[in-house]
Amino acid sequence: MSSLFGARVQRVEDDRLLRGRGAFLDDLGQDALAAAFVRSPHAHARITGIDVSAALEVPGVVAVYTCQDLPPRLAQPLPLLIPHPDLTHGRTPYPLASGEVNHVGEAVAMVVAADRYLAEDAADLVDVSYEPLPAVVGLDAARAAVHLVHDDVPGNRAANSVQEHGDTAAAIAAAPHVLELDLEIERSASMPLEGRGVLARWDGQSESLVLWTSTQTSTGVRAAVAAKLGLDLSQVDVITPDVGGGFGVKIVHPWPEEVLVPWAARMLGQPVKFTEDRREHFIASAHERGQQHHVTVGYDDDGRILGLDVRFWHDNGAYVPYGLIVPIVTSTQLLGPYKPGAYRVEFDSLYTNTVLVTPYRGAGRPQGCFVMERTVDAIAAALRLDRTLVRERNLIQPGEMPYDQGLIFQDGRPLIYDSGDYPAMLAKIKDLIGWEKFALLKDAAAAEGRRIGIGLACYVEGTGVGPYEGAHVVVETSGKVKVATGLTSQGQGHRTMLAQLVADELGVPMADVDVVTGDTRRFGYAVGTFASRTAVMSGSAVTLAARKARQKALRVAAGALEVSPDDLEITGGMVQVRGDPDSGISLGTVAVLSNPLRYAFDDAAKAATQFAGGGDPGKPPVEPDDEPGIEGRAYFSPVRSTFASGMHAAIVETDPDTAEVRILRYCVVHDCGPLINPQIVEGQIHGGVAQGVGGALYERMAYDEDGQLVNASFMDFLMPYVSEVPREVEIDHLETPSPLNPLGIKGAGEAGVIPGAAALAAAIEDAEGIPVRSMPLSPSDLFELRQASDQQTAPRAGGRQAGGAIPFPDGSGNDG
């Protein structure tokens, strides 16, 4: 049997989903009561009164709750999941607002009714009196701190954090050249097609709660809900249904709804379900990406970065339940594949009266990549050097691995790159996009009056973040192999990928392997799905667990066949003496043999009795350090993250009249080590690239000065259709194995999105000859940039070549 590792196996998930037999959250609980929420229409206000009497009169309404109705455990702020010493002023929301609301969409009251229509009718009738307060919207306002989001958080500053490696100020002061840049990325969001949802069933007799939630962490929700409801962990089970996309937003937990819905179910003695609608998802879940950065970089005549100082401001929205992960990732992953002589990064995480900010695919890396790559391009422009040459000169060399960047990563561990070959990757991307030949293409286009440009961007991504994942593998007497791991799936094909690994390890057909994810009844210790960690973490765990099961199976079979385990192999589900198929017994039979039951329940058990010769009467049927059954349970806990990397390159055309941007080519070179299922990895890249394009050219959350989200719908928040993505995504792979896990793999889930904004900004700048420092860039934005540039730089400096020096509006940047 050939190995499934590396095979383009079609997915086991698909058949049900294609037939419309998916079980997404809202498909479940058809008998449940429906919850709807009264949400604040103000960005910042005091609540002076809530009158629910009219709402209670609506037919079909069962209950209306406000903060006053909640028990003490629930009438307090939700957990701050990831504390950090620098997060000195962390604030989290109440499940239902207590006296103050801090963003449009914050939950104020919960209505439970016979169906969602009636619940919304009642929610409309809940009369909340607000005293509006000044709203702090945008980073400029947050920094200026004329008004505060939280009265007890001076300067709207949740955290100030500094990391440094080397003496950056000295390095910059001594550098032959210095550049300063201001760079900005605006807010976007994960925006999965399925919003959040929770279904709770409380069983009064057994005093147990079963919760379904569209989450990225079933164990996280379980622990939080148990704590909030005052239940033992063993009284709560969380099952993750089919999830219609997560992209990070569903890692946050517990959402207010995730604790309120089970609480209501228990209070009312009936199942209760909450299904978020699209407007709620815009104003009551989470956003990400909004940051402003100021860069000061000192470099030499070759473009080598001697000192890099990055000061940035992160808009964390009204609360920080997820801590500082996003800005910490920006801080550390900004370095990409480079080794600046010295690096200092400082950020302020600031409150605004807007929706929370928590990780969205890339989780701060897209911003970091944008900053670093635009800086490198600016250095190249100032020195009139080829942009890939400057990159080459700054790359960490393969011989320098493992490379210690001298910083602490988001997992609290040293930022040490384990493996990677950045020079080889650069050569590949240049080749794929045709970097050397582009100047000719550009000239030819210019002769036709067309503007085209080329850009590229590099990133490094810490994946397979700990602390651990685990897995359980059991061979049943039927020969079927049941696998469980605690993290969750949102469309990444985990069940397929993990089944490939188990099938390979155990020597069984993939069709005999069934994988369950995200169900605390099946596996109770887990962290969750985020940070591109599933293949590394659960992949390693299922492999180790399957190995244990295999060892056991060989031992038991060896006893039955009276050979040494070393003489045996497992192929096609049969345990046999190497090269002797006739000698084989099925794994199912081995499973029967491993469990010395008194009773023969079925044919498999009966058939196994031919081997049950009674055993040694001097020994117990189950030895002291042994167990019945063919099972393996294993955990994988890496010492550090493992670092994937990649480079994207794009060729764009800009319209001289309409400023529209068209992507002519989009190339990806991608290194996540060996690929378990190339088709799945490519699919992840395609999806990530689409989100990267979305973030570069289309998507931004538009808040007005009153803190109203003006584009809270799919009509005005512009996610790409097929017409907006590149016509083709050309992919080449590199594989530098990881030394940090048994499979040698690295994570792949987020990679596609990370360098999108950087690569496209670079290409547009190359086409236009105008610095692009802020994304997303719409045609209108580009038009306005052109206008501003025409006004400020006429007459332009002569002798600018393609890809050469770009004048800065303030005249700086050429010689420091």
Partner: protein, 177 residues
């Protein structure tokens, strides 16, 4: 209609539909969206709701053979109509339809939430344009959002589906010959 035909104070209307070939009825208030009627009254949950403002296309069904957004229709408006949902696409013996099979082969779905809307849309689309070129394939799926796949494999699925339809037609007539 008798006065007892109401629920929670709202008048109920009888809606008769043919759904995937079967006669179905529901008694619903006028404001009941067709998407909710299909999902919760008829318990066919394969059709999904992504936005309720007609943009994402996840709720797309075939109404008298044409793709429409079920979230933009009131169930009462659809009285008397013939509806096909994703549950009605596979063959009677359970074989995946050509479009479903193509998605499977081409990895055209990841989370599967938007997929039913694409399947119905493409099923109808290929009836009108059985041999789409690249532009026509893009036009066919141009009104449906997907957040997972980036569309590349969905486009491949459209072309593969057209191929499978041809292959099945060829082997059917070969079988008859």
């Amino acid at each position: 209609m008798s006065a007892a035909d109401e629920l929670h104070g709202e008048e109920l209307h009888e809606v008769r539909l043919t759904v995937n070939g079967a006669a179905r009825t529901a008694r619903v208030p006028a404001r009941r969206l067709l998407s909710d009627c299909i999902r919760h009254d008829l318990r066919l949950t394969g059709t999904h709701v992504g936005c309720e403002h007609g943009v994402c296309g996840a709720c797309t069904i075939l109404l008298d053979g044409l793709p429409v957004r079920s979230c933009l229709l009131l169930a009462v408006s659809a009285d008397g109509c013939d509806i096909t949902t994703v549950e009605g696409l596979a063959e009677t013996d359970g074989t995946l339809s050509a479009v479903q099979q193509a998605f499977f082969e081409c990895h055209g779905l990841q989370c599967g939430f938007c997929t039913p809307g694409f399947l119905t849309t493409i099923t109808a689309g290929l009836r009108v344009v059985p041999d789409p070129d690249d532009e026509q394939a893009r036009e066919m799926i141009g009104g449906n959002l997907c957040r997972c796949t980036g569309y590349q494999n969905i486009l491949a699925s459209v072309h593969r589906a057209a191929e499978i339809i041809r292959e099945r037609a060829a082997s059917a007539s070969a079988g008859r010959a």
